[in-house]
Amino acid sequence: MSELAMDTPIDRSAMKVSDEVAIEIRNMNKWYGQFHVLRDINLTVNRGERIVIAGPSGSGKSTLIRCINRLEEHQAGQIIVDGTELTSDLKNIDKIRSEVGMCFQHFNLFPHLTILENCTLAPIWVRKVPRKEAEETAMHFLEKVKIPDQALKYPGQLSGGQQQRVAIARSLCMKPRIMLFDEPTSALDPEMIKEVLDTMIELAQEGMTMLCVTHEMGFARQVANRVIFMDQGQIVEQNEPEEFFNNPRSERTKLFLSQILGH
């Protein structure tokens, strides 16, 4: 775990949480065959919230956020994103996916397309944006993640940190209202972790609603307004970062924190 550099003062006042509900999950359950991965998940996320999800390996963190954009199907309960309920209806799925961006642990850039093409593919084919406009948007976001000069290279020619920033830019090009991150920094070397986290902090300061599975507790303290602790498919505890780290309530949380913070 790398400690986040504290040299960037973070203006938390800019990160406003509105009353509007962005994601609502009610009594959601999911099984893989006989295996009960997610049990009775209840979670409401307001617009502008930055939520960090933590928990031991195999606790179902990835599965939970992958359910939100239907990369995994839930079997019971409701997931409502921006007022649209996730059902097997293709229209709803398309609508939700175009509003929810996602970044993966292993970036999953398209290796046969240039950085620019990676960023314009979805806007052109899903949003039906003219190519020129899509390219302008792409360059705007590539500048934001500080790699506009790599636009014509292929993903294989970039470092891991650069690739993850491209992946973030690629998601942003779809102008999502919610971003999901699944351990975006755990495949990266320590020096590169910071550049990706900086990008995410910037995003948070602009008011993006974020759900982030991560082991970067420094990031959680600085940016999150709520930390959720999961174990064995359940949400065991959720609280503001200060409370969560200083006064964990359940034994399992204490054990987890003592392991991950190395006390």
Binding site: N69, R70, L71, D94, R97, S98, V100, G101, M102, F104, H106, N108, L109, F110, P111, H112, L121, A122, I124, W125, V126, R127, K128, V129, P130, R131, K132, E133, Y154, G156, Q157, A167, R170, S171, M174
Partner: protein, 418 residues
Amino acid sequence: MTTLTDPPSESFRLSMLIYDTRYRAITFQIIALICFLLFFGWLISNTAQNLADLGKEPSFGFLMEPAGYDINQRLIDYNNQDSHLRAAFVGLLNTLLVAFLGCVTATVVGVIVGVLRLSNNWLISRLMAVYVEMFRNVPVLMWIVLCMAILIESLPAPRAFRGDDAEASMKLFDTVAITNRGVYIPEPLFSRSLGDIPVGNLFNISIDLIAILIVLAIGFYVSHRIKLKADATQEATGVRPRTWYMRLGVIFVPLAALLVILGFHLGYPELSGFNFSGGTHLRNSLIALWLALSLYTAAFIAENVRAGILAISKGQTEAASALGLRPSITMRLVILPQALRVIIPPLISQYLNLTKNSSLAIAVGYMDITGTLMGITLNQTGRELETVLLGMLIYLAISLAISAVMNFYNSRVKLVER
């Protein structure tokens, strides 16, 4: 005085040929080449000497002598008074015919089976697995003979079509006759034909065919231009215009017009006496060979296709889905361009295998280049060395041509990296 960037000049010493990495590789290559040339020089001079002692100096004169044997399945005119060369040419065309038909069919079947084998439907994926394992684990010769046996044993004889209460009847509105002597299908005829152009004195090419090909080529070109225009419109406005009917139209309307001008009609097979006449006769030997080679090779291609698609990690599909791309677009723009790169190199070797395996044609009496030149011609003239060398040269040329075409295609879809 030299500039500072010049390397220090070093005098050449003989030992550098072995110890200096700059010369070492070249030295060994030259030594290997010399050994190779010496060995082959010895082999050739020795063989030539032995043949001369037997009174059989290598010569290709026999190719001009009359062949004296019949070939029933042929694409160009031929009778037994024609030369061995022409017989070999008939055989070569037969090899090319079955190789071409086989490669096309094997690719289509192989891609379908490969994709279906990844299907979530348990029954379908199992069935495809059984098909693949059955075909690729038995020598292709068995399949060729089995196909032939099935065709001969299970189909009705032409005489079964005779009489008012015939046991067998023609298929597809009385246009196709499937018999144990082969399949008779309608043949294309032109009542206002433009005639033929002779190519050397080897064979004739129909001007009608050339005209059709030209019209088709122009049609495809215009259709491609329409696609490019649609791409441009999409880039400018974001909306892709509907063009499929225009694209099909520019290909098929001129073609239909040309066919009417040429007086195109079909000549149907008809029962006369104890056999069918008219139409095009596809002999059992061709069908059995085509079927067996295609199904056998398709089993291998299916595995390549499956491996190719599996090699594209699940993450690619997930990333595309997360961006909102629909599965069909994901397949076309994300998965296939990457999968092709994995599929094409093994596909080339499958095409080469099929072409070479077609030399088993002799087992069912299909007269390909092996059956003519290296079979009957060899037997009649006793020219083993010449016929085998010629045969090898021809297969080599076909294989290199296939490789060249496929490698060109491969270089166009290759992944650019670092």
